[in-house]
């Protein structure tokens, strides 16, 4: 299935990563990675958006007062705000970060064929490995009882792509008689992309245990529909804007 998207977030794992899904397999893995029906690991869009929102908050906190208000409005339009009505919705939709589409298609085509050579288990095993860890008893220096844990990690150098859609309807002006948002005019698509590029520059780690060595990223890029990286250019413009 081909997914259409306005943009792509592409990144490669520099260290192994654990995209936990909250459960495991009894007797084998305490924490399994998220994977689809063909065994291809993926990282949920909600996780990516959560990390980008956190980075955005840090970026905004570093901006001086007049810039902060402007870009706060852009951030609210970009990521949305709490509430369930139309006005609070995000302009950008971030999909799950998955393996490159042609690869997933090829794997799916093989598994669904009448003579498959791949299975879910073989696909998963070829992209991941198991890591074991245990707690050490501080007094004895030996492993503590009942603390052996096994987590599945996605191997380093795996590339993921997350589709990004921009819903420009939410940037349209209000109809006559409706009041504008208190923070001024609606942001433009360019501003949204500039801020998104800045957040992606800060997007360095992902997944479980990301503060303990797992999930380090490299080559994080925002790409256009043709697959060309555009984040550097937009980030440069963002820097120029905030330095003015």
């Amino acid at each position: 299935m081909t997914i259409s998207a306005n943009y792509l977030i592409r990144f490669t794992l520099q260290s192994d990563a654990a995209f936990g899904r909250g459960d495991g397999i009894a007797g084998l893995v305490n924490q399994e990675v998220q994977h689809d029906e063909y065994g291809c690991p993926f990282l949920g869009g909600k996780a990516i958006k959560g990390i980008l929102v956190n980075e955005c908050a840090d970026i905004l906190a570093a901006l001086p007062a007049p810039k902060h208000a402007t870009w706060q409005g852009v951030a609210l339009a970009l990521f949305g705000q709490p509430g369930s009505d139309q006005r609070s919705r995000a302009t950008v939709s971030i999909g799950d970060a998955m393996l490159p589409q042609p690869l997933r298609q090829a794997i799916g085509a093989d598994i669904d064929s009448s003579s498959p050579t791949l299975t879910l288990a073989s696909v998963l095993n070829s992209l991941t490995t198991l890591r074991h860890q245990t707690a050490i008893n501080q007094q004895t220096g030996a492993a503590s009882d009942a603390t052996l844990r096994t987590i599945r990690v996605v191997l380093r150098q795996t590339t993921f792509e997350a589709p990004v859609w921009v819903n420009e309807l939410r940037l349209l002006p209000e109809a006559e008689g409706q009041t504008e948002a208190t923070n001024g005019a609606k942001p433009t698509t360019e501003q949204l992309l500039m801020l998104l590029a800045a957040c992606l520059m800060a997007f360095r780690r992902v997944g479980t245990y990301r503060n303990r060595g797992l999930g380090r990223l490299e080559q994080v890029q925002l790409c256009n529909q043709a697959g060309e990286p555009i984040s550097e250019a937009y980030f440069k413009r963002f820097c120029e804007e905030v330095r003015q």
Binding site: G83, L99, D112, V123, E174
Partner: protein
């Protein structure tokens, strides 16, 4: 016939229905009541008509460049006038792109037959139906009735092909404080969403003749690009695509069946909202039948639901109202011929327009004699498998996909080689007889491992060539797989005989993904050759030890 200005399609002047297929590019979460926990959500197992209407309104507003559809606008009746239009629920599509219907609640099976192919489904709507000994309703929610498959020698019962949408269950964790995940500050919740990759069949009905302009508008909106529907649209949920849009002058929601001549079966094909004469919500079908002078049903198989919804314009939930659930069945038995004809004639208009409230959103669909035979044959949808010649099999991977695929097949290839190594070592013929001494075996192990770490095969061949005469004689005397150990090792190193005998795999059998195949490199071949010899030596050391222990035990047994 009216043509669009770009000349690409022709709109039939009496277009009655627009059918289309929805494909889920992401999981879709359209929350319904009763998820249990306040943050978790469980999705409907279909796409409600109100959601389809909402997505088209959004597309219309985007097209018009305005954020609001005004009541006085020309398009308002297109989306909200029940006399003109109805957006039906999109149900999971069948293998041949048909739209199935909710399973009638008068259908029962034997409890222990569960999901068994060829099991009998008994329809209690028929006066001739047999009540099962241990009755249980079919567990799959949607069904498509097909004629009997007599060509393949099947029996005469029509086939009931059952469908069940797949759900994907995802657990998420939200924190009130940034970067903090702990009991007091985090909430774990789960979304049971419709899994991606599925297809749903949607229909928009145009009730009035000559609605060419409306049909054109809707046609263009459906093909205007992808949509986002449901909850959590900004993060991993809700993306859909619409295709196979067709404009039809003739369309029917079901094919009426010829059933018992004294019976009429009225089935709800979607949830239905009725009001009694005092305006109160009611789940009594007589509130619909009585004002028309129609008789009460003689038997009913029904269930209730709570219909709700959410209005994004105002950010408020809709009132929760009691409804008759889809699949409820009302049976009129023992009707005289004239009574039956009159009943059918009076119900017929409602099969097009629906009954009750919110018909524009797909509520209130009914079927008359959509089923009613005493039994059907249970079937599951056949899983479509692609041919080897299918276009998708000709995928050519390049760039990052090819790099990743190569890493994957290489790892799978290593797994295969590991298994072959184990098989080779455990084979009974894989031993050296007469065995070398342990010190000689250990020496051989050290040499081969040194050659691997230095990536230099000459270390081994030079070692063999420079063996002193007593050692050389022992190497030549010791046999393995019918050869002397000396010859076996020399052939293994100089002619790659060990690799060819124990590890070679045809290219067709090697792991591959599309055009990317695992290929043995010189390093890989050498590594496994060395590991085989190393493992062999270790095995022989163990066997020597076992033999020594056995001899000692025997000596002790012999001594008085």
């Amino acid at each position: 016939m009216t043509e669009l200005t770009n000349g690409t399609i022709t709109i039939p002047p009496q277009v009655k229905a627009i059918t289309f297929r929805i494909t889920l590019e992401q999981p879709v979460l359209i929350g319904k009541l009763g998820a249990g926990e306040e943050n978790s959500e469980q999705s409907f197992n279909y796409i409600p008509g109100s959601v389809i209407r909402g997505m088209l309104i959004g597309a219309y507003e985007k097209q018009q460049g305005a954020l609001q559809l005004a009541p006085e606008s020309k398009a308002w009746p297109l989306f909200f006038d029940e006399q003109q239009i109805a957006f039906l629920n999109a149900y999971p599509v069948t293998n041949d792109d048909q739209r199935p219907l909710p399973c009638p609640r008068s259908w029962l099976m034997e409890k222990d037959q569960g999901d068994e192919e060829l099991a009998i489904v008994h329809d209690m709507a028929s006066p001739n139906a047999r009540w099962p000994d241990n009755p249980k309703a079919p567990k799959r929610p949607f069904v498509f009735i097909q004629k009997a498959d007599t060509e393949t020698g099947g029996d005469d019962d029509p086939l009931a092909v059952f469908y069940q949408p797949r759900l994907s269950i995802n657990v998420h964790n939200a924190s009130t404080e940034r970067f903090i995940k702990r009991e007091q500050d985090s909430t774990v919740f789960r979304y049971d969403a419709l899994a991606l990759g599925q297809h749903f069949a949607g229909v928009i009905l145009l009730h009035q003749a000559g609605q060419v302009e409306q049909a054109t508008t809707l046609y263009k909106l459906l093909l205007s690009g992808g949509f986002h529907i449901g909850r959590s649209q900004s993060a991993g949920y809700g993306r859909i695509q619409v295709d196979q849009v067709k404009l039809l002058e003739q369309w029917q929601e079901y094919e009426p069946m010829s059933i018992d001549a004294q019976t009429v079966v009225l089935t709800l094909l979607s949830d239905t909202l009725l009001r009694d004469p005092e305006g109160r919500w009611s789940t009594d079908i007589n509130t619909f039948l009585r004002p028309l002078g129609l008789p009460s049903p003689s038997a009913t198989y029904l269930a209730g639901e709570i219909a709700s919804g959410f209005n994004r314009k105002w950010g408020l939930p809709l009132p929760q109202t009691p409804a008759l659930a889809a699949g409820s069945v009302f049976i009129f038995h023992k009707l005289a011929a004239t009574e039956r004809t009159a009943l059918l004639d009076q119900l017929r208009p409602f099969t097009l327009n629906g009954i009750g409230e919110r018909r524009c959103e797909g509520f209130g669909r009914i079927g008359v004699n959509a089923h009613g035979l005493s039994q059907l044959s249970y079937r599951l949808p056949s899983r479509t498998r692609r041919n080897d010649n299918d276009e998708n099999r000709k995928i050519e991977l390049a760039g990052p996909s090819a790099t990743l695929a190569q890493q994957m097949v290489n790892r799978l290839y290593r797994e295969l080689l590991e298994r072959k190594l184990l098989d080779a070592i455990e084979h009974p013929t894989m031993k050296i007889e007469p065995a070398l001494e342990n010190n000689q075996l250990s020496q051989l192990r050290m040499v081969v491992r040194q050659s691997l770490s230095e990536a230099n095969p000459l270390v081994v061949t030079n070692f063999l060539k420079n063996l002193r005469s007593p050692a050389r004689k022992q190497y030549q005397k010791a046999k393995i797989v019918g050869m002397s150990l000396f010859e076996w090792l020399m052939a293994g190193w100089q002619e790659q005989q060990i690799w060819r005998t124990h590890f070679n795999i045809d290219k067709a059998q090697r792991p591959h993904i599309a055009n990317v195949t695992a290929t043995p490199t010189a390093e890989l071949r050498y590594e496994y050759t060395v590991r085989l010899v190393d493992a062999l030596c270790r095995k022989m050391v163990r066997l020597n030890q076992q033999q020594a222990e056995q001899k000692q035990a025997e000596k002790k047994g012999v001594q008085p």
